[in-house]
Point group: C2
Chain length 189, copies 2
């Protein structure tokens, strides 16, 4: 008989709590897998898009995750066309895949200012680039970064659904929906 | 002066070659970051979807990457509605983000049979589940896996565009398009 090293995966509640614990760890620990989730969006032309983001905050009670972005980045254009995102974390030590579906609110200007004000100067360098991210440049380093609060945006991901897969001696998969308070339902892996 | 530990990132060609080398490593080395890329698709309802896949083959000359899937999985439904995918690898030791946009061909039945025939029995267990992946079950383990060649599908990703970001002392980003033979163009990171 194989021992399950992750007994939390045996119950719907245990699995759900573990997923949020792993997400929370990503906010504080730069080496945690959830520090750098993949954020997937749909472009205005209907194309799938995915990139790494940095997880900045999680609120389990409200079911909200937060990331920052340059307002001029393509992902903002995507989210203005389709304000939905998928977020994915693969936590190899937990053998756990965390998939979220979320509706996204974009905070800018005065709504984002309190977070900008708290940010150290070196971190602000990520927001404000000329030309904007993704625009052609004549040489690799022919761009400048200059902190600009008008380029800073906050993406709040309101979780609608969470899909968790645990790869153990037996695989387990469950889906949690906001509409029933994230009660959880086992599904076939 | 900061030393760039990754001189390959200084040229468009060097960056491109490195990305393919890292992708190739994912096929043979189960511990390589490219072993488990994120595959993003768009559902029939227009929602972004993302999940981890296993990279099975790469062909740099043809610009094709290959993954396997259960034919009954939701990603196949997505790809039948929108035959486009984004694939993402974050290779932390190379400080390299690899993003692909690809059109996807789904191989099944006789087209997939040569690959099925070469697959060891234990690997076949991943294809053929009752109920199908993602369907509700009354209990976590109330499903069976039974290898079924009719449930096996191969996804061939024909790369249309590759977007590479190297996070070094200076950040570099370049985009490569199939339409010009993947010549490459620096863009602002």
């Amino acid at each position: 008989m194989t021992v399950n090293r992750h007994p939390w995966a045996n119950t719907l509640d245990g699995l759900y709590e573990q997923a949020w614990a792993r997400l929370s760890r990503g906010v504080g620990d730069r080496h945690a897998p959830a520090r750098h989730p993949t954020l997937a969006t749909v472009s205005a032309r209907g194309m799938p898009q995915a990139r790494i983001v940095v997880l900045r905050a999680v609120d389990k009670q409200a079911g909200i995750l937060r990331v920052y972005t340059d307002l001029q980045s393509a992902k903002v254009d995507d989210l203005r066309a389709t304000p939905m995102a998928a977020l994915l974390v693969w936590d190899s030590s937990a053998h756990l895949q965390i998939r979220l579906q979320a509706s996204v609110t974009i905070l800018t200007a005065a709504d984002a200012a309190p977070l900008w004000d708290k940010m150290p100067e070196h971190a602000r360098m990520a927001y404000g680039s000329s030309p904007p991210p993704g625009q052609p440049v004549r040489d690799a380093l022919a761009y400048t970064k200059s902190p600009d609060p008008a380029s800073f945006a906050v993406l709040d991901l309101h979780v609608l659904e969470m899909d968790l897969v645990h790869l153990g001696p037996d695989h387990r998969r469950a889906r949690y929906m906001r509409e029933d308070g994230f009660a959880g339902q086992w599904v076939a892996p």
